[in-house]
């Protein structure tokens, strides 16, 4: 009985960690920002929830607190992704050329034009400043 719980918990821990790994890989491989947000938010949410479930199997007395952490995570993580995606779209981050259709830009052209932020700069060198 004890070892069955241990095995289940360990398996859930490993599954969660591998989902996190897929998330990191997706973050690195996806071509543009919106797809990266998608890869980041889904896999980390499920991965962390699985790790929490695994910890709950290993230590059942921590269950309530782990449940609370999972619940908070389930509401805060998508929220920040949505707000960030909206801000990026308003800031005029360009999409990958494979993008088929953009209904949001068609319906609200003025919100993008109004933004004065120039965040799409592509300087990625950690160089000396002039």
């Amino acid at each position: 009985m004890e070892s069955a719980m241990d095995f289940m918990g360990g398996f859930l821990l490993l599954a969660g960690a591998s989902f996190l790994l897929f998330g990191g890989l997706g973050l690195l491989r996806m071509p543009d920002l919106y797809n990266r947000i998608q890869a980041g938010t889904k896999t980390t949410t499920l991965g962390t929830i699985l790790v929490l479930a695994g910890a709950a199997f290993l230590h059942p007395e921590w269950g309530l607190k782990l449940l609370l952490i999972g619940l908070f995570l389930l509401f805060t993580n998508p929220l920040s992704s949505q707000v960030l995606a909206r801000a990026a779209h308003r800031g005029g981050i360009e999409k990958t050329p494979e993008t088929m259709v953009d209904k949001l830009a068609e319906d609200f052209p003025e919100s993008i034009a109004k933004s004065t932020t120039s965040i799409s700069s592509s300087s990625n060198k950690i160089g000396d400043k002039s």
Binding site: F19, F22, L25, G26, R29, M30, P31, D32, Y34, N35, I37, Q38, A39, T41, K42, T43, T45, L46, L64, K65, L67, L68, L74, F75, P78, L79, S81, Q82, A85, R86, H89, K95, T96, E98, T99, M100, V101, D102, K103, L104, A105, D107, F108
Partner: protein, 192 residues
């Protein structure tokens, strides 16, 4: 039509000054909201402490009451929840469906990421929702974000703008049936 502007009015507290006919109804409704908020906060307090001892119960009631008093326009998970047996059943089925979709979405994403050719076809499509209550709409948006290849970007009235990793159709009704309908059928029973 859903009045989009009410949220922002309420956020700045202006609606307290409105002296229209709805004021009484709003106040009555808000009394129920406050009780629900108080109960939810007390539940969370007990979960945080992990004990049912009398002293923590008293302190928790005190803290929850003062938060309810200070921040009376707060929402809770059950604010607009219809307390009927069907709603509770729908809630349970909703969570089962939600976790199924979450796991499915992760496997789908992992397949895309591990595929060397990266088969994506991204785009932003527009779908329609019937939900009116705030909590229902928030939960719908969060569910869409966490399910296969979709990310909510903006809600405006009855329209939701969704970014998809692989666009299957750009037609509004077809996309609605594919993306929204599964969750909406449960959330409509729960929140309306």
């Amino acid at each position: 039509m859903y009045d989009y502007d009410t949220t922002n009015k309420q956020a700045s507290g202006e609606w307290l000054l409105d002296s229209n006919l709805h004021a009484e109804k709003k106040l009555k409704h808000s009394m129920r909201d406050r009780v629900v908020l108080f109960a939810t906060l007390l539940l969370f307090w007990l979960m945080l402490n992990g004990t049912l001892a009398l002293d923590s119960l008293i302190i928790g009631a005190l803290v929850s009451f003062s938060i309810t008093l200070l921040f009376c326009s707060g929402l809770s998970f059950f604010t607009e929840f219809r307390a009927t047996p069907q709603a509770f059943a729908a809630g349970i089925f909703y969570y089962i469906y939600f976790f199924k979709e979450l796991i499915k979405s992760n496997f789908k994403l992992a397949a895309i990421v591990l595929n060397p050719s990266l088969p994506i076809k991204p785009g932003i499509v527009k779908v329609r929702t019937k939900l009116k209550s705030k909590m229902g709409r928030l939960m719908l948006a969060n569910s869409i974000t966490l399910t296969p290849g979709t990310l909510t970007m903006e809600i405006d009235g009855e329209w939701i703008y969704v970014h998809c990793v692989t666009v299957e159709s750009t037609d509004i009704d077809e996309a609605t049936a594919k993306i929204v309908a599964g969750f909406e059928s449960y959330l409509e029973v729960m929140y309306g």
